[in-house]
Amino acid sequence: MSIIDRLSRIDKRVMYWTMLLLIALPYARPLGLPMQISTYSTEFKTTIDGLAKGDVALVSIDIGLGSVSELGGGVIALAKQLSAEGVKVVAVSTVAEGPLVFDQYFKPVLESTGYRYGTDYVNLGYAAGDETMIARIAEDISSVYTIDYSGNKVASLPLMQSANTYASYRLVVTFDAGTATGFYARQWQAKYGTTILSIPTAVNFSYFFPLYQAGSVKAILNGPRGCAEYEQLIGAPGMANQGIDSLSMGQLVVIGFMLLGNVAFIGDRIRRRAQ
């Protein structure tokens, strides 16, 4: 069997084992390569720097637990920066698992810095309706959320008495594995001029980039790499920086096998022509 035949018949198990070993390697021996910080990430950080103590931010967790491996570092980093600035947080979600992500990754950071539930932060939970829901909460949150994720009456929470409409929010941050950035750009930014920040998964970055360039979205992080850059910018390297080496190796494996596949394909074509 020629080399070309061998290349074109690489067993799946070889690919899976190569992938497994190479993504596990950086956890044992981190590469620790320095990263060039993009302007998008810098803008993201400086926009939040511009908030004052006591301002209110709407954090929309529009990702499920499956996207935490990609954006979890960003969730924690945002919680760290907002709590360091003393910004109050109201969390909503268009994804059923979103409130769980908030409770597991965002809330512990807030509580470790002395944030009190109901006064400094609120997790309203998931509401159905996607864009319709987002349009509605801009005008009256209590018309959609009568109770929060813990079952408390929203009207009884001190923070929600003063933050029931778009006018109370200095900005919206959305963690997005779907289409929520577009919803906020249309229903909050275009209509009321609210500042929107987006943290999409890597695959959605290009999809939302036109909104960023048009100014509908003030700043955007480029998936896991953007989260790692953001962690470095706020001086708290964590989950995203730990994962970025592993991501590097995983991407290299994909590129490597893609190129091998093409070497085999082109080699086979040349051989057939010669015959």
Binding site: T132, V144, Y207, G261
Partner: protein, 189 residues
């Protein structure tokens, strides 16, 4: 039409009617989750009745147990938190991580430069993947500006055109439907 009109006017009657419609939309969307649970349970119940799959028992059992726990103890309770942190989170992350393995195999077998266009797509994909990882800048110097150009110019132009075309198309489709020209979806031929 009321919802669209409310976007352009401050008339309180129109705004009030639009608000009501939006709330209806949210309530109807909420029922979709209930409908999904009923459909999921009934499908798996049939599988159990026909003794087709033991996994159906696990599927229905875990779904109903989670719903019961959430309804009785609230989703923010310690027990529900344990369930999500120790069962749901690792399972969901594992399923998500499998995609990486499938992508290697799929990319190897299907991402071939069979034509010039496919070759360009392949080259762009490699550049963007290298741009998104720190090691890419070290392996291929210059990949970052090239990747940024692909993202900020080439991809942006195509994406913007697609977005605008989609939005205009949606408006036209909506107007045609409201005026009765587009009845394929509501009237049987």
């Amino acid at each position: 039409m009321l919802v669209i009109a409310s976007y352009f006017t401050t008339n309180t009657s129109i705004a009030s009617a639009s608000d009501g419609l939006q709330l209806w939309g949210i309530i109807i969307a909420g029922f979709a989750a209930v409908l999904g649970l009923i459909s999921y349970t009934s499908y798996n119940a049939r599988q159990i009745a026909k003794k087709r799959s033991v996994y159906a028992v696990v599927a229905v059992g875990s779904a109903l147990a989670t719903v019961a726990l959430g309804l009785t103890l609230t989703p923010s309770s310690a027990e529900y938190g344990w369930l999500t942190q120790n069962i749901l989170t690792p399972l969901t992350m594992s399923v998500g991580s499998f995609i990486g393995f499938f992508i290697v195999s799929a990319a190897f077998r299907s991402f071939r430069a069979r034509s010039l266009e496919a070759g360009i797509v392949l080259a762009a994909a490699v550049v963007i993947m290298l741009k998104n990882i720190p090691i890419g800048e070290y392996l291929v110097p210059g990949v970052l500006p090239l990747g940024n150009w692909l993202n900020d110019v080439a991809s942006l132009g195509g994406n913007r055109g697609f977005t605008i075309a989609f939005a205009v198309g949606a408006v036209i489709a909506g107007v045609r439907q409201i005026l009765g020209f587009e009845r394929g979806r509501v009237v049987k031929p």
